[in-house]
Every structure is written in structure tokens, then in C-alpha cells.
């Protein structure tokens, strides 16, 4: 089949940049290990508490070592359950020192939710039956809004929390 000369040049350039771009993505994924979350661990949505991470006393921030934290969250319509403080009031704001490694683990007992620490790449779908998890290093000081970014019902926009990264 006949191809115009300019078109050959254009296609070689286009396909070349495509290959280059895919190599960068592949490098990030397979050499640096930056895959999107795919934890692949299932859980019974009707009995989240059977899993240690989602027992009521383990919700919220847990310090596991110096500069290492785990945050366990139950996302349900229309609330992020981060446990309670000493007085028994629900925690809505969590604080983590700058430079810490944090593992977020989220599960849903009802419908599909989103979990996005706004403005960062901590961004996960939370689906009934699975634990969504991502590990990250919090390098930038600031106050971040945690928003549900998947529609979960009429109170969807009331579902949020906040994360403070302090010096």
C-alpha cells in the first residue's frame, strides 16, 4: 500500500514518541515499582471487624515505628470512620509529622466510595469486599482535605475528613 512520504515521517515520529512514553511508564512501574494500588486482599463487607485493621480500637492513626504510621479507615455512606478520641468524640482530623511513611488502609461495609487526599496521589477506589491500601511518604507540610470522590449517595458531598502534615 502506498504511504505518502511526509506521512511516513509523521508516523515514525508519532510511533517513536509513543514507544518512548510507554518505556517511561514501564520504567516507573517495573523498575521503580510505582504501580497504582492493587492490593488484591478481600474482606467480608458485612463483617469488617473480623479483620484486625478494622477493629474499632485500631481505626485512625497508629504509630508503628519511628516515622512509620498506619491509618485505618472505614468508609461508609456518608462518613469516614477514623475512630474516637479519649473523650469518645469521632476523629475528623488526623495529624502526622512531615517525612513519615504512612500506610493507608480503607474498606467499605456498604457501597463504592473514593478516598482521595486532595492534591496528592493518594487516590483510591474503595469497593465493598476489598481492602484498598497505599503506602506513601508525606513530604509536604500542609492541611489536606480527604474527600470521597466517588458518588455514594445523596450525602456524598458531606463525606470528608482532614489530614495535617506538621513540621
Amino acid at each position: 500500500m502506498h504511504l505518502h512520504k511526509y506521512e511516513k515521517i509523521w508516523l515514525v515520529f508519532g510511533v517513536g514518541s509513543l514507544i518512548f512514553f510507554l518505556l517511561i511508564l514501564g520504567f516507573g512501574a517495573f523498575w521503580l515499582g510505582t504501580h497504582p494500588q492493587s492490593h488484591g486482599v478481600t474482606i467480608d463487607p458485612n463483617n469488617l471487624e473480623a479483620h484486625e485493621a478494622f477493629e474499632p480500637e485500631n481505626l485512625g492513626v497508629t504509630k508503628v515505628a519511628d516515622d512509620e504510621y498506619i491509618v485505618n479507615i472505614v468508609a461508609s455512606a456518608f462518613n469516614y470512620d477514623l475512630g474516637t478520641d479519649e473523650e469518645g468524640t469521632p476523629v475528623k482530623n488526623i495529624r502526622i509529622p512531615k517525612g513519615s511513611t504512612v500506610l493507608f488502609q480503607v474498606a467499605s461495609p456498604d457501597v463504592v466510595h473514593g478516598f482521595n487526599v486532595a492534591g496528592t496521589n493518594v487516590n483510591m477506589m474503595v469497593e465493598p469486599g476489598y481492602i484498598s491500601s497505599i503506602e506513601t511518604v508525606l513530604d509536604n507540610v500542609g492541611e489536606y482535605t480527604i474527600v470521597c470522590n466517588e458518588y455514594c449517595g445523596v450525602g456524598h458531598h458531606q463525606m470528608f475528613a482532614s489530614l495535617e502534615v506538621y513540621e
Binding site: M1, H2, L3, H4, Y6, W10, L11, G14, V15, L18, L22, L25, G28, A29, H35, P36, Q37, S38, H39, G40, T42, I43, D44, P45, N46, A77, K92, D110, V111, V112, G114, N116, V117, A118, G119, N121, V122, N123, M124, M125, V126, E127, P128, G129, Y130, E143, T145, V147, C148, N149, E150, Y151, C152, G153, V154, G155, H156, H157, F160, S162
Partner: protein, 551 residues
């Protein structure tokens, strides 16, 4: 050839019926869009207790599924009728398809209006709508399949009568698009018929959420190509005629369409990159396949601009960009689609970001995504459809596109471009700052980030209002062209090949081979992860209907 004939009444009635539904949808869906941007500005609340998510569902279903499907089927029928003809029997079948779709659309629309189906157009389980919502959707899909099989039959009959001739380019393209549509919509049909309907009727207690989502996105990405390919048809084979040129290359156009068929379906995982339960390796495989559509897209861009340049130079316009200045910018049949083409440059670039394995995490489910499909689908595709309307409707109704309607059309296109630039631009920036999509107005407890978002939401309301004026103009133009414009003949512009064009190779019409490769790619991309999803599935989910306000 039939090109010279004025169109027959019964044919035009069929094609116009699809366009009527499309433009009624444009008006209703557009109004819902305006209301959303107003609500999200924080300055307006819906009256009569109407819920934001109810109008969001209506907006998505009626513009994303109804407007597009009806317009495309009507347009494709007219292309088939023009190039290969339609028989009495085929027309009858086409009407059956039309009515099946209308019944389905009405069923779905009523359940949404009653507030029983505020599940958005993606209807993610385990949010549960009223069964009639799903049954209506199934009817719409079945009706569209009837249209597809009528199209296949049209080309088959023509081929029997014209042995050894290559099929007309536009008929070839329509058949590619409908093959893709049928293969892709099988996924959502299985989800709706096997999972959602029995579950919503109470025959099945639980639903497998991840399977339903995977089947949905197996369909959901080709869906956007189903919108885009008719726009490509107009760009490849109709715009050249409008500017007084020829088709750049018949075989190139066919190859581009075949590649789009291959690489539009086995790629749904790039919508599911941030989900648990799907293996990252298979996500990556589908990311690579997703990017293959870059090749036919670049071929399309090359061939369209080549046509522009060749035509301009042939008319004697010299210099590096002389030909560009002398394109028929004052002809709305040209201007509207070209604005659409230009919007596709940032639109396509944004798409590459969305589909990127890791970069997706920054924008996933933020309002960036909404901005993305408002410049791709709602600008590129929709402006091309408007460009088609300016000649197709008068052609079908035996009227003229007058100078004054042309001028109004140009104003309409500018309104659309300006409104979309403001609205979609604001959505893109706001999304990068982290604001979610598909959410009503909220200050998120008054955080600093949320207060940054509100200014952009104001801009979206301004853009949305400008767009709504554009919709009112377009509906007015449609009514004018249908009923009130002066009688006359408007051309159905189909471009021809160059006289000395290279022969199109025969193997390009090897349908069995193309379908086989498509299926092989789908099996490659989906079999192992799908088995994996089933084998490692968690307990199923019961129905949740209270979160959508349906208790």
C-alpha cells in the same frame, strides 16, 4: 448514482425521527447541566426538593447515552442510505429499532424523574435503582443492535449487487463503528441482564461489584469511540467536500478505522487503575493497548490537515500558511467541526494523562476528568455533530441553509467554544487542585483547599450559562432548519477520491479477519484477569437503595 436524487420522504422521516429525539435530549440534558453548574457555584439551590444527584443522573444519561446514540444512528442511517441504499424491509426494521429505543428511553427517564434511579449514568453496584431503570437501558441497547444489524444488512445487499467493487468509504466506516458497538455493548448487556435486573428484582440476593464494574468499563471506553468515529467519518469524507477538496487517501482512512476497532475495546482497565482487586500487570497491559489508538489518531490528524493544505494550494494560495487563511472559515459546516478538531488536541493530551499507569492517581475521579470529556465528547464530537446538522437537516427536509442561519450558526459555535473553554478550563485546573467530580456543592468543613475550589466553580457556572445560550441557539436553529427555512436543495457533501488515486487494497475488506483480531485482543486482555477476579472474589454485595434517597 443515488447521490443526485433528492431524498425520498419515508427515508427522511426515519432519519429525522432520530434527530428529533437527539435535539429534545440536547435541550433537556443541557438544562440539567446548567442547573448543576449553578448549584455547584454555591449560590443556588434546587427548588421543589429536587436532588442534585437526580439532575446529574439525568444529565449524564440523556446527553451521554440518549443524545449521542440517537444522533449517531440517525446520521449513520443517512450515510448508509446515501451510499448503499435502504430497502423497504430494512426501513421497517429500522423503525422497530427506533421504537424499542424510545420505549426504553422513556422507561429510564421516568424512573430518574421520580427520583428512583439517582445512580448516575455509570450505575455502580451496589447502589440500586428501580428495576425499570435497568430494563429501560436494556431496551435502548437492544434497539441500537437492531440498527447495527440493519446497517450490516444494507452493506451486504449492496455487495451482492456490486461484486468486485470496494464498498463505499462511509458505509465501510459505519459498519466498523457498529461492529465495535455490538461487541462492546455485549459487556454492559451481560452486566444489566445477568447481574442488575435479577438483583434489582430480588431474584438474586447479592451482586459481584468488581465484575459489574469490569463489564461496565469493557463497554464504557469503546462507548466514547462510538461517539468519536462518526465525527471522524465527517472529518475524513465530508469536510473535504465542503472545502472543495478530495479524500486524502481512501485506504489510509480505512486502516485508521480498523485500528480504532482493534484498540478501542481491550482497554477498559485504564478506567479502573485505582481499584483494588485487579492485578497491576494486567492494568499495565491494557494501558499499553490504550495508547495504541494514538496511531490512528495521528493518521487522522495528518490526513485532515493534508487535505486542508492540498486543497488550499490547489486553489492557488501560496506561502507556508496562505492556504490556512483561505479555508472557508465563514461556512459554519466547516467552522463548527474545525473548532471541534482543535479542541481534540488538548483533549487527546489530557486523555493520555488519564490513561497513564501512575499519573492517573493524580487526576482520577477529580473534576479534571469531567473537564476532559467536556472538551472531547462535548466539544469535539458535539460541535462536529452540529456541523453535520447544518447540512443534513435541510437536506432531509428539503430546505436551505440560509445566510442568516449560517451566521447564527457561527455565533453558536463561538458561544460553544468560549463557554467550553471557560468551563472545561476551570474544571481542569480545579481537578489538579484535588476537587472531586460528581459532587454537589460543599465547603468540606471549611478547609483551605475547599475554599480554593469555589472560585473555579463560579467560573464553571459562567461557562455553563454561556453554553446554555449556545444550546438555546442550536435548538432554535434545528427547529428553523426543520420547519421554517425556505424550501430548496441542500447538498449531501460526500467527498470523492483523486482521479489518479492509488487502488485501495482488497484485503482491507476482510471483515472476518478484523473481527477475529478484535476478539483475540479482547481475549488476551481480559481472560486471565477476569478469571482471577472471579476466583478471588469476596462475598457479594446486597442491594443499597437508601443512599440514593430511595427509601
Amino acid at each position: 448514482m443515488s447521490e443526485k436524487l433528492q431524498i425520498a420522504k419515508p427515508e427522511s422521516r426515519l432519519y429525522m425521527s432520530f434527530l428529533y429525539v437527539a435535539f429534545i435530549s440536547l435541550f433537556i440534558g443541557g438544562l440539567m447541566g446548567l442547573l448543576q453548574t449553578l448549584v455547584r457555584s454555591g449560590e443556588f439551590t434546587m427548588p421543589w426538593g429536587v436532588d442534585y444527584y437526580q439532575i446529574l443522573t439525568l444529565h449524564g444519561v440523556i446527553l451521554g447515552l440518549v443524545l449521542t446514540t440517537y444522533f449517531i444512528i440517525g446520521f449513520q442511517y443517512s450515510l448508509m442510505g446515501k451510499t448503499v441504499g435502504i430497502s423497504f424491509k430494512q426501513r421497517k426494521m429500522a423503525w422497530i429499532g427506533f421504537w424499542v429505543m424510545v420505549i426504553g428511553t422513556i422507561m429510564t427517564a421516568i424512573t430518574i424523574l421520580l427520583g428512583k434511579a439517582s445512580v448516575l449514568y455509570t450505575f455502580y453496584a451496589p447502589l440500586q435503582a428501580h428495576p425499570v431503570f435497568y430494563i429501560g437501558l436494556a431496551f435502548v441497547i437492544i434497539g441500537s443492535w437492531i440498527a447495527a444489524f440493519v446497517n450490516f444488512r444494507q452493506l451486504y445487499v449492496w455487495k451482492q449487487k456490486h461484486p468486485n467493487e470496494k464498498s463505499p468509504l462511509l458505509a465501510f466506516m459505519v459498519v466498523i463503528n457498529m461492529i465495535m458497538w455490538v461487541i462492546a455493548s455485549l459487556g454492559v448487556a451481560v452486566a444489566v441482564v445477568v447481574q442488575f435486573i435479577p438483583w434489582s428484582l430480588g431474584y438474586a440476593e447479592t451482586i459481584n461489584v468488581l465484575i459489574s464494574r469490569t463489564l461496565f468499563w469493557y463497554f464504557g471506553h469503546p462507548l466514547v469511540y462510538f461517539w468519536l468515529l462518526p465525527a471522524y467519518m465527517a472529518w475524513y469524507a465530508i469536510i473535504p467536500k465542503i472545502i472543495g477538496g478530495k479524500i486524502f487517501s481512501d485506504s489510509l482512512a480505512r486502516i485508521a478505522f480498523i485500528l480504532l476497532l482493534f484498540f478501542s475495546i481491550p482497554v477498559g482497565f485504564h478506567h479502573q487503575l485505582t481499584e483494588p482487586g485487579i492485578d497491576p500487570i494486567w492494568k499495565f497491559v491494557q494501558v499499553v493497548l490504550t495508547f495504541m489508538v494514538v496511531i490512528p489518531s495521528l493518521m487522522t490528524a495528518f490526513s485532515i490537515f493534508a487535505t486542508f493544505e492540498i486543497t488550499g494550494r490547489r486553489k492557488g494560495f501560496r506561502g507556508l500558511f496562505g492556504w490556512f487563511k483561505h479555508l472557508p472559515w465563514k461556512d459554519v459546516r466547516f467552522l463548527a467541526p474545525v473548532i471541534g478538531m482543535l479542541a481534540f488536541i488538548p483533549g487527546g493530551a489530557g486523555g493520555i494523562i488519564n490513561a497513564s499507569h501512575q499519573m492517573n492517581a493524580v487526576v482520577h475521579n477529580t473534576i479534571w476528568v469531567t473537564g476532559h470529556f467536556h472538551i472531547t465528547a462535548a466539544t469535539t464530537v458535539v460541535l462536529t455533530f452540529f456541523g453535520i446538522t447544518y447540512w443534513l437537516v435541510p437536506h432531509l427536509t428539503g430546505r436551505k441553509l440560509t445566510k442568516s442561519i449560517n451566521r447564527l450558526g457561527i455565533i453558536q459555535s463561538i458561544f460553544w467554544a468560549v463557554g467550553m473553554t471557560i468551563m472545561s478550563g476551570a474544571m481542569h485546573i480545579e481537578g489538579l487542585l484535588g476537587a472531586p467530580r460528581r459532587s454537589s456543592f460543599s465547603t468540606y468543613g471549611g478547609t483551605e483547599q475547599a475554599s480554593e475550589w469555589i472560585g473555579y466553580q463560579m467560573a464553571q457556572a459562567i461557562g455553563g450559562s454561556i453554553l446554555f445560550i449556545g444550546i438555546l441557539l442550536m435548538v432554535y436553529i434545528f427547529i428553523k432548519l426543520t420547519f421554517f427555512a425556505p424550501k430548496g436543495n441542500e447538498e449531501f457533501p460526500i467527498a470523492e477520491e483523486e482521479e489518479n488515486a492509488e487502488q485501495t487494497p482488497k484485503w482491507l475488506e476482510n471483515w472476518k479477519l478484523w473481527i477475529a483480531i478484535t476478539i483475540a485482543l479482547i481475549l488476551f486482555a481480559y481472560t486471565i484477569p477476569f478469571v482471577d477476579i472471579i476466583q478471588n472474589s469476596p462475598p457479594g454485595s446486597p442491594a443499597f437503595d437508601w443512599p440514593i434517597g430511595n427509601s
